[in-house]
Amino acid sequence: MKRFLASLIAFVLAGCAGMHVTKIGADTDFTSSGIRYYGSSPYIYVTTDNAGGLTPTLVYLPDPKKKMSAYLYNIVSTNDATLEFENGMLKTSEITADSAVLPKAVISALEKIAVAALARNEAKDPPNVPLPYIFKVLFDVDGMPYLIDKDGPIDAGSLGGLHATKGD
């Protein structure tokens, strides 16, 4: 009996500190009590290079569709927790994982697709200085990345080849 009670107390003491992270939506935002932050997603924005061409830039931005809640709790225990954020995004393996999902070669290919897609659109009515354009990188069920823009997913196959960022 003594051993049982000791185990019970140890169990109670040991299991009373930690952090729960859950993804939340608009409906649960008012009831959740954890630290809210946005997860990050890769985006590519394309701007003028000020020399007649376009420059694609891959950035990880806070994604409103990935609102998270990190709930810290502590009962009869010590729970030294430190959460650090950069530009409002949690600096965790999440960002690293996203980076790992997009190897350099894939990033390069996606950037070229973004520039080609933009070049196709802008060719119809080129302004004096091209307006910036943004693409978001999403992943299909097989984990393959694809881009979306203002019209929806981009069919890379319909581009008919890649264009250079500057003409000859």
Partner: protein, 435 residues
Amino acid sequence: MKRIIVIAILSIVVLNACTTRLTVRKATDSTPGIRYYLPRPVLVAKPQTDGSVLFTMEYLPDTSQEYAIEAESYVAKHKLRVETEASGILKKVQWNPTSTEVASQLASSIGEAAKAELTRRDAEETAEKTAADAKKKTVEDAKAAVQKLRDELAALDAKIAALESFNKDATEAKVERAVTAVKLQIAIDHLGEVISTNTVGGAGNVAASKAAAEEKKKKVEAATAEVDASTSSLKTIGAKIAGLESLKSDTAAATAERVTATARLKKALENLDLLTRNKPAFDQAWAPVLFVIKEGVNAQNKPTVYFQAVNEQQQLGTSKKPEAKAAPVNVELRLKDGGVIRPAPNTNALQLIVVPRPSVHAIDASKVTVLDVANAANPKRVANAVMIATLTDANVIVVDLDSALPKGSYVLTVPFHATAKADKDSRDVPFVVER
């Protein structure tokens, strides 16, 4: 055994009451806790003076996503530290439930409060002393002004007496004396006022001060009228003198005066033109545009993303015509002696002559350094190796080195501005010291 069970259960109940909880709620005006905002990335397009556009991603606080962090403890203690960016975006949350931190925090808070009180008292004492010094200075200044005018009056009396003793016209000096006498009276009145308001116990007579102010106003008006009359009189005298002297003087002085007056008139006309012409005095430049990211779905319920400009681009006035940055100049630095220097035979001095091509506008002489690269893998900066570095009128950089610089291989780094408007640049010049 029963006692053991009761103690065990009680222990669990009591220990479970020792709870620390961190709560974050969607903030309203009445929600307690430390506020922070979720970020909203914004692409800022900033037109540059050279016609290009600079794009930067900035993170602004999304005020519709405001939260409040609060920690509560029941039979426990905790330390919560929330750091946010200046914008209010969350930077760091440190949560340490602990039993000792409260006491140390309390001690720290008491210390901070005591420090703040001492600082406040110091500030009060300093302010009082400054105010007292200012009052003292005001009185001293007023006294000095009175004394100065008295001296001037005495000097004018002496001048008038001297002129009259030689039967010369003293009208001008007398007018000046009359003006100075009025000024002196005003200064004396002002001194009385200053003494009454800036000394202890002398500030109470408000009615007297008001009457003195009225009196002073009248005197100022009288003095102004006197000055106008005197000026008119002086002009008449001046014309009279000019008329008399024109008979015996040449036209050189008048010609010089006319040149000065003409230049003054031209400048006045230019100023008048600037003030009255219809077109804007200054050029304009394009203002930045902010783009927010919008995400949604299309008609086929597929996700979409696009930039939306949040402002119409405006033109802003500038203080001067926008100028493009100077194009970078590719400057090459060459050593006159082919990169190998030896101590001068008589003086033992070590000197480098560096020739810039093309010429440079200026060098940052205090930042010219020497690096010891004898060990290429581990180059070391040689302290005090450069005695003095000068850019001569012939656009040659003369660098006097420490004569004790040992034999070896070095690199001289020279920071410079290629043109007056160019950013700071620098070049490395390898050289060898032989002995």
